[in-house]
Structure formats: structure tokens, C-alpha cells
């Protein structure tokens, strides 16, 4: 690469140095001198006979000229292509001195707007840059070369402080690891430069006075008292920062074309909530009010009024009254001749429901006759629903589709809109927070589309700012608090302990099945250490085995130990999904069925999802679950993506339970027959191979032996003692009595399940009798002997 020349003796460099020298205090002094000279000279001329006053008047011109020169040129000399000193921003060039080193460059950058921007938005401070630079003048060369390249890449006019920050990092040998440490990459830094330039443009634009037609603008148009009362004038207070996205630009042009031409005078903006339909209408209103904007003459200075159905309904509750009111308002708008009506959430005007009313009969003739310009905004699905009921309405509307914003567009919208949030909430939002808001909102916010969903999350993250800074961590906290999921790597001491000892904690609730407990624990640890595939559920497991061996219990234990309670378990008994139509129930909208799988997962994405007795589900239901198991996504009936990527998915099945028992009885170890057993399940058509392949692990639960059942008895007794603790009573069962309970409760076909019934019946009956007999006082330990157990169970048997 050619050597890049830096000439500190160039005229531009001298001008910049002078510009920096004449900083604000000095310019203020010049202004004081000007006023002093002017008053002094006039006083001398008018009050004395001395002609020196003329000299003073003449000299007044000097500070004025210097101050004007400083404002107009020295602060920001024009760029000159071909050299670094010709392209460096004035504030940087002026602060560099005659023989700059990388460290002096850092100093100049730290004082520049671009440098301050990067320090605040990216956390790349001057101290940080100072650590990666030297004080060798020769080391400036790679920085200049890099800066010129970056300036071209980012499309900046100058080599600004922002460009230099990136150039300094770029010329550092450990750049990538350095950026990775800050959770950034080089593209992010380039986006940062564009963001900085964009903010500068916005600030300059906001200084431009907006010409909106003047005091007599509306003289030729009618009065609109009712419309003012019930509508919101979007054309007032224009001059806000509406981002004009590529997608929005197209919609705006379509709006202007529709209304500017002699064709149909209505437009229906169709798109999901959050895509920016209202923003487009506001931008449209703003453009019509801008005297300098290119819009057809018949649209210039037309005012856009948004009508709100709820305020209309509350003012006129009866249908007749409401129709009368609407007719009056629309008539007023029509007579005024300069009004465009916007019906936001227009479905509220076309269907009878709570807070909405069907005014098709009133509105359709107006839409068809084109006598009034109307914009409708509507959700795609509502639009189709209304269209089904009222084909005439569908035909009368000019449909304009609004697509959700892309990642780049969403970041741009957030960068613009956050200026208001920052002002209101007194916070500074970092770039990492924007990135995280996009990523996490895509995953956890379902009711809105981009860019609305990302911005909504960013706004809530403002409440979790640390020292006034909204960071990526603030966004994670906002999601963790509002959605109830755990994001990122486990950091709390308690959580780390739980994760490291997960197996022990689970085994406090269930006996053996160590392999199953381990695979589930490993999956969870991988997830919380951030080393899992984020585009799949935390883990997907199929538990196979006879009934009563702990398959469901493991799911419950996991929910209790790690996910914060058994209520964190989304449990579906698949024997309720045996028909193909049951797929609809599985993915039903939460408003219709709050217990549907998708509704529960939307409400509680961080959970254990348990499909009990999966083999009983209809094949269509199993096919529906394939995408869930594979990608952690399921689309609900409204076609919304519901994420299961923060869930552990467990399916249990008794399929082949007899074969498992048979293998065990024949002395096989589980490891030896797992593969063969899975093949048997496929060949016997109990499961399709593509279904079984979707699971991370297929774990076979073996039947419990008597020794393990003794441990189960102990666990059951712990549970009973917990219940009794309220009455300050505890129970102690003799070892031989426990063995007898195992004898009575053991059923090889039903596993440990009958055991619970036997133990509860025995112990609770004994305690109940003793309590009623007045033999038990608070603090008593009730000892239950073999004889007592034998008596109760034998009595029961004989009575049975």
C-alpha cells in the first residue's frame, strides 16, 4: 500500500489549529471586544472632537470577521481529497500538533464528538484506546491508512473521531479478540460510524426551520370543531424524527400516488402490529405539511386526523347515536376540503365486539364514492376476516402491504427513536443494547413485529440501566424479569451451585435412573454455560420405560429444582390428542384456550415441557411436534412463531415396557439393548424413525428393584413428614415395617406408583387414629412398628 502523507504544515492544518485555538471562551471574548469597541468608538465620535473614533469603528470589523471566519470555516474546514490532513475532521486535525503519535491521536479523538460518541455508545473510551497505542510517530502510518479505507467504507465526508476510533482498533494486532471481549465485531463498528453520521445529519435537519404554510394556510378550508374534539391531528407538532425506511418509503410513495392521482381516494395499510403503520401515517402527515417536500399540489398542507374508536363509542354508546356522530364528523371533514381521515386499527370500525362497532354501512358508501380521503390501518388477519364477511369493503380498499423491518432497518429505527427515550428516561443506550434488543425480542416478544418489538424491549430495558447506561445486560435483565427466562451465562453463586449439584438435588426427589438424570442435567449446564445451540430447545429427551419408574417424576423434579417450581412444568397428556383435529387444540390462540401448548409456552418460555404418554398421540400431532423438537419453534393458529428454545422438552412413553422388563429379567444391561430396543420400536411401527431422530437422547428407564423401592418409601415418608410439620408431629417407621410396605406395595407392572398409595394409607391411618385417640401432642414423634403396619394392611386386605 502507498505511504500515506500527513502534512502538519498544510494550510488546512494551520486553519484547523487556529479553529481549535479560537475555542468558545476566546470567541466570547472577541464578541465582548466587538461590543466594547463599538460603544467606545461611537462614544468618542459623538461625545468628543477626536477623530480617533473612526479608527476604533474600523477596528470593530476585525473581531467580527475573525468570529465569523471561525464559525463559517475554521471550525470545520472543507475536506480536500488526496491526503490525510485534507480529510481529517477539523477538531481532530487542529488538536494533533506538528508531529503526532498514536497517543496524541487518541487524545484528539477523546475530545472530538466522534470519540465521545464511541465512548458512550460502545464503551470504547480514550483510556482503552490509550492502552493499545504507542507513542511512536511512525506507528501513525497504519492508522492513517486504515482511517482512509474506513472513511470510504462508511461513506463519511471526513476522517472523523469516530472513523479514527475504528482505525486505531483496526491497526491493533489483537483486534478480533479485543472486539469479541466487548461482544462486538468490525461490522458493528462500521455501523457505529454510520450511526454517528446519521445523528449529525438528524441534528442538522432539526435545526432547519420547517415551513408549514403560515398563518393563512387554512383560510380556504372549513371549520372542524367535532373532528378536533374526537380526532388527533397528526399534522400538528410535525418536525419529529421519523425514520424513513426503505419499506416505509415505498408505502409513503404509494400513499402519495393514491391520493395525489384522481383514482381511488383511500388506502389500507396492512401489516402486523409493530411494523410501523402509524409511523408511516405520521411521516405522511409530516410530508404533506412540509412546504419544501415534493408532493402534488392537491395534497399540500392537507391535514391528517386520526380517529379513535373508543373515544367515539364512549361519547355515543348507542348504535344510532354513534352512526350519527360518525356521519357528522366525516361530513365536517368532507366540507372542510383539507382533511384526510385515518382510522387506526380500522377493524374496530368494521366488527361488533367489545370496544368496537360495525360501521360498514356508513363507511362503505364513503369509501366507494371517494368523496373523502381515508387511510385505514389494519392487521393482516383482521383484514382477511373482514374481507370474508364484507367482500364489497375489500374491493373498495387500496391495499398497501407493510412488511416487517429487517435487522439493519430495525437498528436504524431504534437509533433514531432512542433519542427520545434517552431524553425522557435520562439514560444513554449502548450499541450492544440495541443488538441484544433485536436478538432477544425476536425470540421472546410475540405480540409485535419488527421494529416495534425490538424497540418495546429496549424501552423496558431503560428501567434496568446501570449508572445511566442501558447495556446488553440491561436488556437481558428486562427479558429475565418480564418473560421469566434465564439468558446468557449463569452468574449468580447460588445458580452455579444448583447447576453443579443438579444430580444430587434431583436425587433428593427420585431414586436411581442416574443416566436420565445426568443427560438432563448436562443439557441444562450446557445451556447455562452458553455452549449450546441457541436455535434448538435446551434439550429434547424421550424417556422410555414401564409406568411408575420416575419418568414423569424426573420432569417434575427438574421443574422444581431448577425452573423455580412444579408450576414451571407444561404438561400435556397426549392421550387427549388422539385425533388429527386435536392439532388445533395444541396450537390454539391463548385468548381462546389458555391451556394450549403454544399459549402456555408463550406465557412461560423457560420451562419443562412434558409430553406424557407420547405414543398415544395421533401421528398428525407428532408431525406437528417435529419442528418444535428440531428448531424449537412452533407456529400457533395465528401463524405466530412460538419459541421453545428456552425449554427442556421431555416426552415419556410406556411403549415396549414389557420388552424392557424382559431384557432386564434376562440379565441384559440397559446399555446393551438400547439400540436394539429403539429399532424394535421403529419396526413395530410404534414410532417413526424421523420422530425418534429428533430427540437429543432416548433414555430407557429400568424397573426399580426392591432395594430402590425401600429408598422410595423413605422419600414418601419425607413428604408425609413435611405435611405433618404443620401440626408439629413427625413419623418414624421401623425398618422391618418399611420392608413389609415394599412387599405389599410392589407390583412389577405398576412400578413405584402403588407404593405411594400403600405407604400413605398405612401411615396416615395410624396417625389419624392416634390423633383422634388423644395420644398425640405437638412435638410427638409417632413410631410405627411392623405389627401396626401388618395389622392395618391385613385388616384392609381382609375387609377387601
Amino acid at each position: 500500500m502507498d505511504k500515506v502523507a500527513f502534512n502538519s504544515h498544510s494550510l488546512r492544518a494551520a486553519k484547523s489549529r487556529l479553529g481549535v485555538l479560537l475555542s468558545n471562551p476566546l470567541i466570547l471574548l472577541f464578541n465582548v471586544i466587538t461590543i466594547g469597541l463599538l460603544f467606545g468608538s461611537l462614544s468618542v465620535l459623538l461625545l468628543t472632537d477626536m477623530s480617533i473614533g473612526w479608527l476604533l469603528v474600523g477596528f470593530t470589523a476585525i473581531p467580527i470577521m475573525i468570529a465569523e471566519w471561525h464559525r463559517g470555516e475554521l471550525k470545520s474546514p472543507r475536506s480536500i481529497e488526496g491526503s490525510v490532513d485534507g480529510l481529517l475532521a477539523g477538531d481532530i486535525l487542529g488538536g494533533l500538533g506538528k508531529n503526532p503519535t498514536p497517543k496524541t491521536v487518541v487524545k484528539a479523538v477523546a475530545r472530538s464528538h466522534g470519540g465521545i460518541f464511541f465512548a458512550n455508545r460502545f464503551g470504547i473510551t480514550s483510556g482503552f484506546l490509550d492502552n493499545i497505542t504507542t507513542d511512536q510517530p511512525a506507528d501513525c502510518e497504519p492508522i492513517w491508512q486504515s482511517a482512509l479505507k474506513i472513511r470510504e467504507e462508511a461513506g463519511s465526508e471526513f476522517v472523523s473521531g469516530a472513523v479514527l476510533v475504528v482505525a486505531i482498533i483496526d491497526s491493533y494486532s489483537e483486534r478480533d479478540s479485543l472486539l469479541a471481549h466487548m461482544k462486538l465485531d468490525r461490522d458493528d463498528l462500521l455501523s457505529g460510524i454510520r450511526w454517528y453520521e446519521h445523528v449529525r445529519i438528524l441534528i442538522n435537519k432539526s435545526k432547519r426551520p420547517l415551513r408549514t404554510g403560515g398563518i393563512a394556510r387554512d383560510f380556504a378550508f372549513g371549520y372542524i370543531p367535532m373532528l378536533k374534539r374526537f380526532g388527533q391531528n397528526l399534522s400538528e407538532n410535525t418536525g419529529g424524527m421519523h425514520v424513513e425506511l426503505e419499506a416505509h418509503q415505498k408505502a409513503l410513495d404509494q400513499l402519495i400516488d393514491s391520493f395525489g392521482s384522481g383514482g381511488s381516494q383511500n388506502a389500507a395499510l396492512i401489516g402486523a402490529a409493530g411494523v410501523g403503520k402509524s409511523t408511516i401515517v405520521r411521516a405522511f402527515a409530516e410530508r404533506l405539511m412540509d412546504a419544501d417536500a415534493k408532493v402534488p399540489a392537491n395534497l399540500k398542507f392537507r391535514q391528517v386526523f386520526m380517529l379513535d374508536s373508543s373515544s367515539l363509542i364512549s361519547a355515543a354508546p348507542g348504535r344510532g347515536e354513534l352512526e350519527g356522530l360518525i356521519m357528522h364528523i366525516l361530513g365536517e371533514a368532507q366540507s372542510a376540503k383539507n382533511i384526510i381521515i385515518c382510522l387506526d386499527n380500522a377493524q374496530m370500525f368494521f366488527e361488533d365486539a367489545v370496544g368496537s362497532v360495525d360501521l360498514s354501512n356508513v363507511l362503505l358508501p364513503i369509501l366507494e364514492s371517494d368523496s373523502l380521503r381515508i387511510i385505514l390501518t389494519m392487521d393482516e388477519q383482521k383484514f382477511l376476516q373482514i374481507g370474508q364477511r364484507n367482500a364489497g369493503l375489500m374491493n373498495a380498499l387500496n391495499r398497501i402491504n407493510i412488511a416487517p423491518a429487517t435487522r439493519e432497518e430495525t437498528l436504524t429505527v431504534m437509533q433514531d427513536q432512542l433519542l427520545f427515550t434517552e431524553y425522557k428516561r435520562k439514560v444513554t443506550v449502548m450499541y450492544q443494547a440495541l443488538d441484544e434488543a433485536y436478538r432477544l425480542s425476536e425470540r421472546y416478544i410475540h405480540e409485535l413485529e419488527m421494529p416495534g418489538r425490538a424497540f418495546k424491549l429496549l424501552e423496558s430495558a431503560a428501567g434496568y440501566a446501570e449508572n445511566g447506561l442501558v447495556t446488553g445486560n440491561s436488556v437481558q435483565q428486562a427479558v429475565e424479569q418480564t418473560v421469566g427466562v434465564k439468558i446468557g451465562v449463569a452468574h449468580g453463586e447460588q445458580e452455579r451451585d444448583t447447576l453443579l449439584n443438579l444430580e444430587d438435588l434431583i436425587h433428593k426427589r427420585m431414586i436411581n435412573q442416574t443416566r436420565a438424570v445426568q443427560v438432563v442435567s448436562d443439557a441444562l449446564r450446557r445451556a447455562r454455560a452458553g455452549v449450546r445451540n441457541e436455535n434448538r430447545p435446551i434439550g429434547t429427551f424421550l424417556f422410555l420405560g414401564p409406568t411408575g419408574v420416575g419418568k414423569t417424576e424426573l420432569a417434575k423434579a427438574l421443574g422444581d429444582v431448577y425452573f423455580g417450581g412444579e408450576d414451571r412444568l407444561i404438561r400435556l397428556d397426549m392421550n387427549e390428542y388422539v385425533r388429527s383435529e386435536d392439532v388445533a387444540r395444541l396450537i390454539a390462540d391463548g385468548a381462546d384456550d389458555p391451556n394450549s401448548l403454544t399459549a402456555q409456552a408463550m406465557k412461560q418460555p423457560f420451562s419443562v415441557v412434558l409430553f406424557d404418554e407420547i405414543e398415544k398421540a395421533h401421528p398428525q400431532v407428532l408431525t406437528t411436534l417435529l419442528q418444535l423438537l428440531d428448531e424449537g419453534i412452533l407456529r400457533d393458529i395465528k401463524n405466530r412463531e412460538v419459541s421453545f428454545r428456552d425449554a427442556i422438552v421431555i416426552a415419556t412413553s410406556n411403549a415396549g415396557a414389557d420388552r424392557i422388563r424382559e431384557y432386564i429379567q434376562r440379565g441384559y444391561k440397559m446399555k446393551d439393548f438400547e439400540k436394539q430396543f429403539t429399532d424394535e420400536l421403529i419396526s413395530s411401527n410404534q414410532f417413526k424413525p424421523e420422530f425418534l431422530n429428533r430427540f437429543d437422547e432416548i433414555v430407557i428407564f429400568r424397573p426399580l428393584d426392591k432395594k430402590e423401592l425401600l429408598q422410595v418409601v423413605d422419600l414418601i415418608l419425607v413428604g408425609i413428614n413435611k405435611q405433618m410439620a404443620l401440626q408439629k408431629i413427625s413419623i418414624n417407621v421401623a425398618d422391618d415395617a418399611k420392608e413389609f410396605l415394599v412387599e405389599k406395595g410392589y407390583d412389577p407392572r405398576l412400578g413405584a406408583r402403588p407404593m405411594r398409595r400403600v405407604v400413605q394409607r398405612t401411615v396416615e391411618n395410624t396417625v389419624a387414629k392416634q390423633m383422634l385417640g388423644g395420644n398425640v401432642e405437638p412435638g410427638t414423634v409417632i413410631d410405627i412398628t411392623l405389627d401396626e403396619v401388618r395389622k392395618i394392611l391385613n385388616d384392609d386386605d381382609s375387609s377387601a
Partner: protein
């Protein structure tokens, strides 16, 4: 370097600086023209004021005649109000144009003001006659 900077100052003053001065003044003028809605007032000089009595009327000849008279009255009222605003606007614009011209001329002669001051001082002329 000092000479280069001085030259640069004069170059800017009569180049970009002068253009910027004209731009600022013309911008100010455009703002005032917009504020008084000049072009809109001229375009709608004879339109009914605030659309009062502006609609079409059906009925007998008498009713139509009355409506026409009402509309005519509305137009006359509108015209009077608009003319008044146009006149006030024209006066304000006249003042602003004068101010802008003075400002531009002052800009042009400001660099030679020190020399003029030296010459006037040399002539010994004073403002004794004013007192």
C-alpha cells in the same frame, strides 16, 4: 503562514462566506413569505372564507339566489381578510429585504472598514456637527 491565513480569510469572506450570507438572508425571506402564506393567499384570494356557505344548494330560484349572495359575501369577507394579511406581509417583507440588503452590503465592506477608519481618522473629520 500568517499571510496565507490572511489570504484564506479574505478568500472565504468574499467566497463561501458571502454565498452563505446571501443564503441565510434568502432563507429568512422564504420563511417570512411562508409565514404570511403569500402564494396560498394569492391562489385563494377569492375563495369563500373558511368554506362558509361554500356548498352547492338545491331548491327554488330564490333559495339559489340567496345561497349565491351568501357565497359572494363569504368570498368578499375572505378577500378582505386575505388582502389585509397580504398588505401587512408585504410591509414586513419590505423591511426584511432592506435589512438583508444592508446586511449583505455591510458584509461586503466590512474588511475594508479598518482602512476606511484610518483614512477618516487621517482626515480629522469628526461628528461635531451632530451635537
Amino acid at each position: 503562514m500568517v499571510m496565507l491565513l490572511l489570504t484564506s480569510l479574505f478568500q472565504w469572506w468574499y467566497g463561501d462566506g458571502f454565498r452563505e450570507r446571501i443564503h441565510i438572508n434568502s432563507g429568512r425571506l422564504e420563511n417570512i413569505i411562508d409565514y404570511f402564506s403569500f402564494s396560498l393567499l394569492l391562489k385563494t384570494l377569492f375563495s369563500p372564507y373558511r368554506q362558509i356557505s361554500a356548498g352547492t344548494t338545491q331548491g327554488s330560484l330564490e333559495v339559489k339566489m340567496r345561497a349565491m349572495l351568501d357565497k359572494l359575501f363569504s368570498r368578499v369577507i375572505g378577500m378582505v381578510i386575505r388582502l389585509m394579511i397580504l398588505i401587512v406581509g408585504a410591509i414586513v417583507i419590505g423591511v426584511l429585504v432592506t435589512y438583508s440588503l444592508v446586511s449583505i452590503i455591510t458584509w461586503a465592506i466590512l474588511p475594508i472598514l479598518p482602512i476606511v477608519g484610518v483614512i477618516l481618522m487621517g482626515t480629522g473629520w469628526t461628528l461635531e456637527w451632530i451635537r
